[in-house]
Amino acid sequence: MSLGLLYLLLLKATVTSFSGMGGLPQIRQDLVSTYQVVSDEQLSRAVLLGRSTPGPLGIYVVSVGYVVRGWPGAAVGWLALISPAFVAVPLLLVLRRWIHLARMRSAVDAVVIAGGTLLVPAGLLLARDAAFQLRELLGG
């Protein structure tokens, strides 16, 4: 997988996420299911390492990038992580006028709810895969 494509796929996940882990379902769909460059086990590990590290919750995309393409991939993951943050600047200028509007706040709330709901199957998949691994390793 090229670094450009990796950046675009990770950016798609980070740009459509409104919470640290919100992009996880998209990353799983693209990198595990569609392109098959990351296994569920590797993705689970990336999430774990991201949560074990001080810093933003979404930092696990750096680990995902490393899994796919080593250090250049990690750099691409970092760029995909920070790119959406700069959208905050024009939003700051616009929302200074509009954030008091009920429709705007309600849209934000709904997107946050969608992000939370989409995390549930992602979390269940991680737990299921870990349980399968444990059963195999322990000879069950």
Binding site: T14, V15, F18, S19, G20, M21, G23, L24, Q29, E41, S44, R45, A46, V47, L48, R51, T53, G55, P56, L57, G58, V62, S63, Y66, A74, G77, L81, S83, P84, A85, A88, V89, L91, L92, L95, I99, L101, A102, R103, R105, S106, A107, V108, D109, V112, I113, A114, G116, L118, V120, G123, L124, L125, L126, A127, A130, Q133, L134, L137, L138
Partner: protein
């Protein structure tokens, strides 16, 4: 949110920001795609030093952790062939699954126990139905954004 609270205390004490400014930054960061903390940093940096401030704040808020997590990933990839390490990683992955579920709960809980409980339940049901029907996460988010914009709170409308 814990990091933002720490930043608020520090910035207010230094008189770089007042409470209203912090509330605006939190609102902006919630509406910005991606990691809320980095959006907060970008907006804060812009308020004080424009483009350079935004870039410096975002890099400072992310680069140390990015280097750390990449190094940890590299280290783990080298040692994960050992059965004991794999067992430990599997247990840790189980914990990661629980952490993801707790993140989901942290996002949903304020809405499920807030003033718009029924609306939140409908939104969750719609998101779940779309997901189960095979909609991509992007489409689920867009559909919910439309639902939210179409159904604002009555008292604030």
């Amino acid at each position: 949110m814990a990091a933002m609270e720490l930043m608020r205390r520090s910035l207010v004490r230094r008189q770089w920001l007042d409470e209203a400014g912090h509330a605006m930054l939190v609102a902006v960061s919630r509406f910005t795609p991606g990691t809320n903390l980095l959006a907060y940093c970008a907006a804060l940096g812009w308020m004080h030093f424009r483009g350079v401030g935004a870039a410096v704040a975002v890099v400072a808020g992310s680069l140390p952790a990015a280097l750390m997590v990449a190094a940890m990933t590299a280290a783990v990839a080298r040692i994960d062939r050992s059965p004991s390490v794999r067992t430990a990683l599997a247990v840790a992955t189980l914990v990661a699954g629980a952490l993801v579920l707790s993140s989901a709960w942290a996002l949903l809980r304020p809405h499920l126990f807030g003033s718009r409980r029924r609306w939140a339940i409908v939104a969750i049901a719609l998101a779940a139905a779309l997901y189960l029907a095979g909609a991509t996460p992007v489409r689920v988010l867009l559909a919910l954004a439309v639902l939210g914009a179409a159904t604002p709170t009555r008292e604030a409308a």
